[in-house]
């Protein structure tokens, strides 16, 4: 399989009144065509910012270090995403080769423009279809994602649809330009479990059909287990563990990944107490020195956790973890 997008040494800081705030720190990963990657972490871990960087969509006060490199492999050759400047160039990654589905389906449609008009608009922008053809394609797509009576829904406004419908329409819109990469930022978090199950099923079918890559951002490990091929876990801007989904969920190595799994209520054992990860994620203004997780870690092995950033250690060929427990020389 060929790589679809590669991210190398991505470091991203935001210029604010309080100084430079590090949001993403030296993150590297790659995604193949037809692969689904789960990006997991709690609020403030930098997962959304990382995803937005792939579309060069972060606010104008974002500063990328010179070592940061994001390469998108399209049919027309590789694109260096971070070097794109003009709106015309950026169109390639914004809605063209890369599409994004946002968390809150109510907020991501313009309320005063019909769903159909919004779908047609982006098709006109990203392809050479005429208006009539774009309408046809949009209705086909709405039908494909399971919206009944698609041609009348086409003329409706976002507030006329239920939450699940809106998220389906959002997916239809994101996919109608046939992107190579779909970024889904917490697409099911705002939905009921029954609707979430339907949307997850739909997305799985669509990966098979369109053979695109998906980056699935979520904090729900259950959703990841049901959708992803591989998982990357982020904490405070660092990638702390990555590997195939079965490996990471059955055999988590990093104390944070283990903590996340333990904190989940388990249905097969109602008596087991819930074990939260102690404390809160530190503010990005107060990044701890050494390992970023040392303020909440229950398995600190020694002074190196407080002073030295742990390097990636290979558990096996595909499973990597950044923790001093597994570093050479550590007990």
């Amino acid at each position: 399989m060929s790589a679809l997008i590669t991210v190398e040494n991505l470091t991203l800081k935001f210029k604010t009144d309080e100084g430079l705030i590090t949001a993403v720190d030296d993150v590297s990963f790659s995604l193949d065509k037809g692969e689904v990657m789960g990006l997991v972490g709690e609020s403030g871990s930098g997962k959304s910012v990382t995803a937005k960087a792939l579309m060069h969509l972060n606010a104008s006060n974002a500063v990328y270090t010179p070592e940061s490199k994001i390469t998108l492999h399209t049919e027309d050759g590789p694109v260096d995403v971070l070097s794109l400047k003009t709106p015309r160039q950026l169109n390639v990654v914004r809605g063209g080769a890369v599409s994004m589905i946002f968390q809150e389906p109510m907020a991501s449609f313009a309320p005063a423009i019909s769903i159909g008009k919004q779908m047609v608009e982006q098709l006109l922008l990203h392809s050479d279809m005429n208006k009539a053809r774009a309408k046809e394609v949009s209705i086909e797509m709405l039908d494909r994602v399971g919206i009944s009576d698609a041609s009348s829904r086409f003329a409706q406004y976002a507030f006329e649809l239920s939450g699940g419908m809106r998220q389906r329409a959002m997916i239809a819109m994101a996919l109608s330009t046939r992107p190579n990469l779909l970024i889904a930022d917490e697409p099911t978090t705002a939905l009921d479990v029954t609707i979430q199950a339907q949307v997850i099923d739909l997305m799985k079918d669509l990966v098979d059909e369109f053979h695109m890559g998906i980056i699935f951002i979520t904090h729900d490990l259950g959703v990841v287990a049901q959708t992803a091929d591989k998982v990357n876990v982020m904490y405070l801007g660092r990638m702390i563990e990555e590997g195939p989904v079965r490996e990471v969920i059955r055999n988590p190595k990093h104390p944070y990944t283990q903590g996340l799994l333990n904190a989940l209520p388990k249905l097969d054992d109602l008596d087991s107490p819930l074990e939260p990860v102690p404390g809160d994620i530190p503010s990005p203004l107060e990044r701890p020195p050494g390992c970023v997780f040392n303020t909440r870690c229950s398995q600190v092995v020694g002074s190196q956790c407080m002073s030295k950033m742990p390097r990636d250690v290979n558990v096996d060929d595909t499973h990597k973890v950044a923790c001093h427990i597994y570093s050479e020389g550590a007990a």
Binding site: V193, A225, P265, P276
Partner: protein
């Protein structure tokens, strides 16, 4: 009525009038003929999708929306009120005894008030303390109980993370020393690592202060871990109610079963086994006839479309409203 029941709702209904013209008046029944009993000192879970009426039922029990049919009786040993007819003075007293914790800790706290002022406001509004020293003392006591750092009391909410904010909301709800608390999706907006922490805190406080909780959630796994008794709602009706363990070991209603199987499994090899529910919850203005669930039920037969099922006793404390629950027990192994 036995002494250990705190709230007893009987045939409780809440309707909202919609449509503006006199020709176009319609009543939207958000809660329809619901009877429940909440035991003192228990954690009562209320489960259902958006639009099932769970939030409205919670608010009706707090007398925050008007009760339009049936009634609810509150009795904590000191006072007893009939909520459907409660008077103005009694209502003021009831407000001290029954409190609400909201879903979104980012929206529920005023950004212009310090944490101390937020927690103290109920005391001042209800006139529960005599002077500032007493108020401060009470605020510090409750803040410590909710594991808030006392030095943080002078800060504003924006300086806190989601978990900390939710602890502030909890402190505000507890400061008037209530007996009954409705927690409406109180952990839904939190990260899993924090969610477990807040749930543990709620349980601990409940045990320490002898509180009664109504815990509203759409997340069955959270409810399973916290609640003693669970009621499942669909389109304003109660479809099943049972002690937690009973409900989880042998769910009877097809809707309850579907809710269970929709929870994403942590096992990556367990994909796609779930029994999926088709479609969405119908609009409450255009409710189906007969059993409200028949439009989505995989087991619906003719009688389900015409006749509305009543709650039947299935086991001790376990009631279900389905025409076919007995047959289905043999049909589908739980």
């Amino acid at each position: 009525m036995s002494d250990d029941i705190l709230i007893k709702a009987k045939g409780l209904s809440v309707g909202f009038q919609i449509g503006s013209s006199i020709f176009n008046k319609q009543v939207l029944k958000a809660v329809d003929n619901v009877s429940i009993e909440i035991e003192k000192g228990s954690f009562f879970g209320l489960v259902g999708e958006s639009g099932s009426g769970k939030t409205t039922l919670g608010r009706a029990l707090l007398k925050a929306v008007p009760i339009t049919g049936g009634g609810a009786h509150y009795s904590d040993g000191e006072v007893a009120y009939d909520l459907e007819t409660i008077g103005k003075e009694d209502l003021k007293d009831y407000r001290k005894r029954a409190q609400l914790i909201f879903q979104d800790p980012y929206a529920a706290l005023s950004p212009r008030m310090t944490v101390r002022d937020i927690i103290a406001e109920p005391l001042e509004v209800m006139g529960l303390t005599k002077n500032r020293t007493e108020t401060d003392e009470r605020v510090r006591e409750i803040a410590a109980k909710c594991r808030l750092n006392l030095e943080h009391l002078r800060r504003f909410p924006h300086a806190f993370s989601g978990g900390q904010r939710q602890r502030i909301s909890i402190a505000r709800a507890l400061v008037s020393a209530p007996k009954f608390i409705v927690a409406d999706e109180s952990v839904a907006a939190l990260d899993v690592s924090i969610q477990a922490d807040v749930l543990n805190l709620l349980k601990q406080i409940q045990a320490e202060m002898g509180l009664t909780f109504m815990f509203i959630s759409h997340d069955l796994s959270v409810v399973a871990h916290t609640c003693d008794h669970v009621a499942v709602m669909y389109l304003g009706r109660l479809v099943e109610t049972a002690p937690t363990r009973d409900l989880f070991n042998s769910p009877k209603h097809p809707y309850t079963k579907a809710l269970f199987s929709a929870i994403p499994s942590l096992d990556p090899d367990d994909r796609g086994k779930a029994q999926k529910l088709e479609g969405e919850i119908p609009s409450p203005t255009n409710q189906p006839t007969g059993c409200k669930f028949h439009t989505r039920c995989p087991h619906a037969i003719d009688i389900c479309k015409s006749k509305e099922p009543q709650l039947e006793k299935a086991a001790k404390g376990h009631e279900v409203s389905c025409h076919r629950w007995k047959e289905l027990m043999d049909l589908v192994p739980a």
